[in-house]
């Protein structure tokens, strides 16, 4: 099933699907969560750590790798897989999101986008064709076309214009894409305007991509708006192709979006929050730096079989964070990523067993989600922070450098 998508089972009581995405490096079971490794590394982890956790695909970022070490450098070193010593599939983001959110002084017209490097201020120019070529040089398994990503809150006319440009760019990207073994997905935009979403889905699917991404969400809008836009979009996408929601990765969001027919996710949230000491448990996120963990002679999450929970107490993690020890970030990242990977594996199994709706209800009944106000505040704070330039990826949810 090279590069195709096989729909294995659909949930009769929700939009949830279990499937297989074919790649030249083997099939990927879906639903699937890909952690973010923008700069050629999932922060703090080795490829062996990732495999032990059960990660099947990671995300690399064209914008970050273009600026450092450079696309030609990665190609000369054998491509991104060999460079980072990762032999499982890699999805590369086009860098569109980063250009439109990280880089200062950008100008965009139909030809492409000019921007300045957030690292050294040098000026650069991306076109849809260049971005396809960059990803061919990186050698990723799934590539994304350049898209225009307007911020949340734009008026209908500006969102429409950006969406229509994204369509023209998608067509040009498809026309020049010819890397064997690499799938180029289309990206649906349209902001939070339902009819723009529908128009975008129609335009992009008419071009015939092997998979479809839902872009332009999780950028500061209320969660109900995200979920409506996801539902609106997936309802317009063909059943026989995978759907990829960019930038979503909290446990509750994964459940809600799998229920709305999404197959593939990436987000920096599990790894970024880990480095800030916010650890997932079956009861919700906890702050390991809280004094209640000082003497806690037990694992962070009693049910978690990860390396961190098997070997180390919450009290030890608390100590490492308080002491700002490097090991803190690694052990926390292992835990959060294991939690998410295991959750998505449980979702898949539940879909196969016909009990996805029950799993979702059970999980969400016990899981205390971050309240909406706090969530949006955190997100806005992150979106506006100056040091964000060392960003972790598409999800707009990265702490960059550890405090």
């Amino acid at each position: 099933m090279e590069q195709g998508f096989q729909l294995v089972k659909s949930c009769p009581r929700s939009g949830a699907r279990a499937g297989l995405i074919g790649t030249s490096r083997g099939p990927l079971p879906t639903p699937l969560f890909a952690p973010v490794g923008s700069q050629g590394t999932v922060k703090a982890l080795t490829p062996d750590d990732l495999k032990a956790i059960g990660v099947t695909m990671v995300l690399g970022n064209t914008y970050h790798l273009y600026l450092r070490p450079g696309i030609a450098a990665v190609e000369a070193l054998g491509g991104l897989h060999r460079f980072m010593s990762w032999d499982r599939p890699i999805l590369t983001d086009s860098g569109g999101y980063q250009v439109f959110s990280l880089a200062p002084l950008r100008r965009v017209d139909d030809q492409g986008v000019w921007f300045r490097s957030h690292i050294d201020g040098t000026e650069h120019f991306f076109t849809p064709e260049k971005v396809v070529e960059f990803q061919a040089q990186l050698g990723s398994d799934i590539a994304m076309p350049l898209d225009e990503c307007p911020p949340y809150g734009g008026d209908r006319a500006s969102i429409r214009a950006a969406t229509e440009r994204t369509h023209r760019w998608a067509e040009r990207s498809l026309a020049c894409h010819r890397r064997p073994g690499q799938s180029l997905y289309g990206i649906v935009q349209g902001g939070t305007y339902p009819e723009l979403r529908r128009q975008s889905a129609a335009a992009i699917t008419s071009l015939g991509f092997p998979g479809y991404a839902i872009g332009g969400l999780s950028v500061g809008e209320p969660k109900s708006v995200t979920l409506e836009a996801v539902e609106e979009t997936t309802s317009c996408l063909p059943r026989e192709h995978p759907r990829y929601l960019m930038g979503v990765g909290s446990p509750e969001d994964l459940f809600e979006c799998v229920a709305r027919g999404v197959d593939l996710f990436d987000s920096a949230l599990p790894t970024r929050t880990a480095r800030n000491g916010a650890l997932f448990t079956s009861e919700g996120r906890c702050n390991i730096q809280n004094a209640r963990f000082r003497d806690a002679d037990r694992a962070i999450d009693a049910d978690c079989p990860c390396y961190t929970c098997r070997g180390f107490s919450a009290a030890y993690l608390h100590h490492l964070f308080k002491s700002r020890e490097l090991l803190a970030y690694r052990l926390a990242t292992i835990h959060n990523l294991s939690f998410i990977i295991r959750l998505i594996e449980r979702m898949r199994q539940a879909i196969l067993d016909g009990r996805f709706v029950e799993l979702r209800e059970d999980f969400l009944a016990g899981y205390r989600t971050t309240d909406e106000e706090t969530r949006i505040l955190q997100k806005q704070k992150w979106l506006n922070r100056p040091s964000r330039s060392a960003g972790e990826g598409h999800g707009a949810e990265d702490a960059g450098v550890v405090p």
Copy 2:
């Protein structure tokens, strides 16, 4: 051979020895290098990393653990081994060195030493008896008595006074030490005054410890002075007990000091320099951030079998350091520590095979050492840096927080 020392072989053409230090957690082959894990973690590494590298013993620090998380907290969590999930031997430093170098506002008299925490400024009081008790609570395999550590360059009278106080404290420490399965070593002081060294060795050995440490060196003095003081001291120590040189860990120093009869070392140098991007190779230390590594599609050290060298190119390491990625510090630490552990294993084997002198000559002929002036400048810079408070251990050679 519980808690004893077995001298297996002596080099006929140098002072080098191969031996076995008995502990309740099994015998430790010597010469031995113990990496520094002051705060209950060897920076950036898990216990599994350490085992894969071949580390047989790590060093914990009483001063750091006393301040955070607290000795009673570690004891309540099952002792230091369980706390940090490390089931091989641990040597704990008494904290004397840290009190006399890190903590502000110290007052010392025969009773003990008052100091302020470098973390929160609170006042504390250490006595020899308390320090023995602390290490009993931590449950280390080898413990060290409180000693007075004057800085380099003190006059004879002040060094003599500190040395004699160290002797009185050693006697009190031995008198109250009763933790089963834990060996309390004596510490020889005397600065760089040969006759004070001899007197200190005589005084300390007359008390009858199972092992002897050489303290007060590697604190900013020229290397020739260090080596003379080491030689002076080891010549006064009994053959049938292990000799432990505190704070030494560069490849060239290990060769020189093994040749002078030292069995056991600890130092933060390999791990600290790793985090600064200074990586050991058979030709000398290299700075991985140097532009010549940008395109280097080969391991850092062609002969090195470590995880880092097996899996990743120098160019990738260069990229990680340039991008300040957390993985940089871990991969670099794995390499430097593997280099030192493998070197010390090769020394042991060479002693057993009767070719230690040849190995030393061969290695040093190919190895470009850091020149003396640079070395002392770096050391002084480190000793004076304000952020040193997050220090890594006895060796006075720690970068603390990564840049």
